[in-house]
Symmetry: C3
Subunit: 101 residues, 3 copies
């Protein structure tokens, strides 16, 4: 596709209680925006937790420069999150060069 | 992965009031289907708007041929949307050759 | 991005009545977790069905090893699903090598 530029999209699945903390940090690290969807699911950590706590889960995605994605990945692998049911991946996406990310 | 073919997935985050207009146009441009999820979030435009209007936001995705993705990207960068809080990106995805996109 | 490893993300859009069956099978095939979001949409099959049945639709995603993605794709193209409004695609995503998928 002509004229598009390559950036990164980071997708995080996490307990809703961490939403505010994470999106504030993502913006500090350079994200210009983010999108949140309520979700549910299962992972290695969260089966018991969800039953006990009734916790909500959110899916956060943010389209950022690759260097910002690297910083977000580093942050999410900080030891403070080691006991959280946190899933994260990074993808390559293409955007219009006139759009700011 | 053997046997899969490469197509494009377009993801658009936009005010819910534009949903009908956009999906109709996407189908006219060649999309065979689309998926919509209610979402919330923040971007450069929408912080104030959401507070004033209580607008809902939707995440629309559609899997299409690369040429259709190009047409959708052109359409979404039409001047009529210049004041809308509209985020869009295109990704490469793989699908079964027997599935129609 | 340094240090990341490449895995696959499978996204399935399907009638909510199939959710349990599919996620159980995905886990049997090797998925360590999955995320589900309620969605709505349109495809070639589902226009009439949704009107008649009021069926809910879900978007299931699971991050897995490429070999597991292949098995999931095979399973979803089993003749048993031939009349279902089922959309599926596979993408390449990057994850931290310390995270288990």
């Amino acid at each position: 596709m002509a004229n598009l530029v390559t950036v990164s999209r980071v997708t995080v699945i996490v307990d809703g209680k961490l939403e505010d903390q994470l999106v504030k940090r993502f913006c500090k690290l350079g994200a210009k925006g983010y999108t949140i969807v309520e979700c549910r699911g299962r992972g290695e950590h969260e089966i018991v937790e969800d039953v006990l706590s009734g916790a909500t889960r959110v899916r956060i995605e943010t389209i950022v420069q690759p260097s910002v994605a690297t910083e977000i990945m580093k942050y999410l692998h900080d030891p403070q999150f080691i006991n959280d049911a946190l899933t994260v991946c990074v993808e390559t996406v293409q955007v219009d060069p006139g759009d700011r990310f």
